[in-house]
Symmetry: C2
Subunit: 295 residues, 2 copies
């Protein structure tokens, strides 16, 4: 099951998820710049730099989709390379639609032999539980995961998610209604592959969600470039269920701070660039591992 694969990756390497976010104008000329080929080469470069250092990657679909179908082709190649390298791939597409269309997205990302290879897909709950159901059904069949937006890391999360809906914030209403789906995607570790997005910029909300959904894995954005530190990012983590030293229960994403670190943009060779990125990955992983080991 997806939950077990993700937990195994964090126990082996730490909770870092390497975000593969090809922002406009940021891809070094070394890889071909801001072109579909540049995105593909750079994304594979990130995957290679992460081997042995991080077990989870998260491609940001919108930043590939900028380049049309050619960008989506680059996305498919990068994801396949990450799977080939044995990594857990979280596809950050934030899809959501009525049942018959949700089946299309599930076929694209979660089905057996889906064209975009990955282990889990981010989805948006606004349209209701029947729009999440096709994703959960297919994920249960294929041993993949479904990552539901709960409380995101951006300032706009205050506009609706955090507002009171009949005695609790909307994000809590969403999560309480997911309980049966969380149960359906549980793995052998006891963790569930019905994962929740809960931003590092909202540690109080993460605590609240951990109480509401003790077994759901968390995907935590907002660490690093978006401003939150390791301690804030990991408040929703829990004692390791295998008795290990480090707290666990999800992964913490970092993108820009790792894939566009100081010095990387003008590295004059792939070796130099890879070394800079690998060092940034090690530093983030160490920062998170130290925090998760503190009692």
């Amino acid at each position: 099951m997806f939950a077990d694969r993700l937990i195994a990756a964090t126990r082996a390497h730490g909770p870092l998820c390497v975000g593969i976010d090809p922002h406009a104008g940021r891809i070094p000329d070394l890889f071909g710049g801001d072109t579909p080929e540049g995105l593909e080469n750079w994304g594979i470069g990130v995957v290679n730099a992460a081997i042995g250092k991080a077990g989870i990657v998260k491609p940001q679909v919108g930043l590939f989709e900028r380049h049309g179908w050619q960008g989506m082709k680059a996305l498919a190649t990068v994801s396949a390379a990450a799977k080939e390298a044995g990594m857990v791939v979280l596809m950050d597409a934030k899809r959501g639609d009525i049942g018959s269309t949700a089946e299309g997205y599930a076929a694209a990302y979660l089905a057996k032999n889906a064209p975009f290879e990955c282990d889990a897909l981010t989805v948006n709950p606004y349209m209701g539980l029947d729009t999440l159901e096709p994703h959960v059904r297919v994920a249960a069949e294929t041993g993949k995961g479904v990552i539901v937006l709960a409380r995101t890391s951006n300032p706009g999360s205050a506009d609706y998610q955090a507002r009171d809906m009949q005695g609790a914030p909307l994000f809590a209403r969403v999560v309480e209604s997911l309980a049966p789906m969380i149960e359906r995607l549980k793995g052998d570790t006891g963790w569930s592959g019905l994962m929740l997005v809960t931003g590092a910029t909202g540690p109080d909300e993460a605590r609240q969600l951990r109480t509401l959904a003790p077994d759901a894995l968390f995907l935590v954005p907002g660490y690093g470039a978006q401003g939150a530190g390791a301690a804030e990012a990991m408040v929703g983590f829990a004692p390791a269920r295998n008795g290990g030293n480090r707290r666990e229960g999800g992964c913490v994403n970092a993108s820009r701070s790792i894939t566009f670190p100081k010095g990387a943009s003008n590295a004059n060779s792939l070796d130099v660039w890879s070394e800079i990125v690998a060092t940034a990955i090690d530093q983030a992983q160490d920062d998170l591992n130290q925090t998760s080991s503190a009692r």
Copy 2:
């Protein structure tokens, strides 16, 4: 501006929007069946059958994305064909993400020379106003539109959208907060290209939204195969602002009832298939036009 183009299309032909939804297993062998080529040929067939009968089409992105980047390539070709035929293209992708990623989606669909040609993009408001802003900013620059999910047509719209948030349903809270964006995308007709999705299956909610947002165009799904009739679909329409006979203020989508009508699946030639689909388009347009003319 987008709003003016959409209103011109409905004044010329009627409020029908032809949904281009290539459901799995439904593409006739005539076009190549359920393959990327089949989707492309069929989608172009739908566009050609609609010429002179409907001015608006809405490709359902998830049903193209099923086929990976090759499906997205078919989507790009079909959309370009619809634009070439002078149609208003509403891209039904329901995207939504934090600002820097939203810029990626805006670049994919709303920017000048975007790889996926269209007039407007559907977006999901769950993550907040800062996630809608990049879409509105780019749309204002390029004269395109942004279609925000308010109250969708599926049963799950009751789960969160219709629940009370501090004295009003969530969908109403979303729409009231959109007022400045509605203003920014207003065209010469007085209608706004900040369009709202309001399902035909919720006529009471459509009335409520028309009061809250008198100038926002409505995109109404749920007519036809999803069960609502023309009268329910058009309760949010208003007297024509140019003094014309027919009520106006948006468009009504029909997909399966038009593009997979009885007899179409086993038509033995493109001419026969086109005639069957064109007749279904005429019937839906007539049904809607009669309703919008009734006083």
